[in-house]
Symmetry: C2
Subunit: 156 residues, 2 copies
DNA sequence: GCATATGGGACTATCTTAGTCCAATATGCT
DNA sequence: AGCATATTGGACTAAGATAGTCCCATATGC
């Protein structure tokens, strides 16, 4: 249904990788080999993440990147914002360009609320949660198939 | 941030329009003029909605479309499913094609949960909610700005 | 049979996305 | 100072998804 781009997925992986290095400065090369993502892509992503202030950069020899904050203080919402841009769920609900259908379109308002709900969900998730298996989400778990089985009962 | 396609937005508008006609059969032409969406687009969307069982179709002269269920029984999640396809928030979390990054990728799991959270949010919203201003959402309301009107004649 | 509709699909132009590469700048070390 | 290393910024291309249109077959009512 709703999508995030691959870049966002990769970017999240990179952040998770950096989180695992606990503050150490890693070059783009390190990250690339650590995550197995193509180097140029890693470079691109790291630039974006640096501009979004999610990572801190050090130039020059022995330079590299490190998280700008502890993982607990980086939310999934921020990550999506930085990597996807501040896009909203519908076009007309974010830009000033209101469509001419507006009048007969009481829909956008509702989509906006849905959007806000989704945003709220993303706000509750931190990079730390993404990094190590926390499983403290307010949600049931139908059928998680994915190699490693994790023992966890759905609380709530 | 997260996006739905324009088609989904339009499709929702169409459903809202049909909901307002309370069961009456409307031709694609009716819907097009009622929503001011380009006719070919409306036709395309109605076909998709019919295949997704959200609307019922009547062929032949005097034929047309009507909601297949009362608006209260159509959820936003269904709408998104039908119009966007059963895509998941990340690619690798939906297909069986596990990426080779998997091992170092404890991320997908978390995205899946986020995905499920989002889905839960969409499940609570019905077409009836989208149709008339209900404002009975379990959510605070920061700042809904929706003001200026811009001409965007992309079709018609 | 004719007018009116939907059904299914093909088709194209356009936009976005993914991914790559290059020149400029900054830093550490010898 | 000079060289190697690394980020910065931007341009660039190829591939894919999206939006939108159109055509022909089929079904129904008069």
């Amino acid at each position: 249904m709703l999508r995030i781009s691959k870049l966002t997925d990769y970017g999240t992986m990179i952040l998770v990788y950096l989180a695992a290095q606990t503050g150490k400065v890693c070059s783009a090369n390190d990250v690339a080999s650590g995550t197995r993502i193509a180097l140029p892509t890693v470079q691109k992503l790291l630039k974006i993440l640096a501009r979004g202030d999610l990572v801190h950069s050090l130039r020059g020899a022995d330079g590299g990147y490190a998280l700008s904050r502890p993982p607990e203080r980086i939310s999934a919402a921020e990550i999506v914002d930085v990597l996807e841009g501040p896009l909203s769920i519908t076009e007309c609900s974010m830009t000033d360009s209101q469509c001419e259908l507006e009048e007969g379109c009481p829909v956008g308002d509702a989509w906006q609320k849905i959007n806000r709900t989704i945003r709220g969900a993303l706000d509750t998730v931190t990079l730390a949660d993404l990094a190590h298996p926390p499983h403290e989400f307010p949600l049931p778990q139908p059928s998680a198939r994915r190699g490693k089985i994790v023992e966890r009962r759905s609380h709530d």
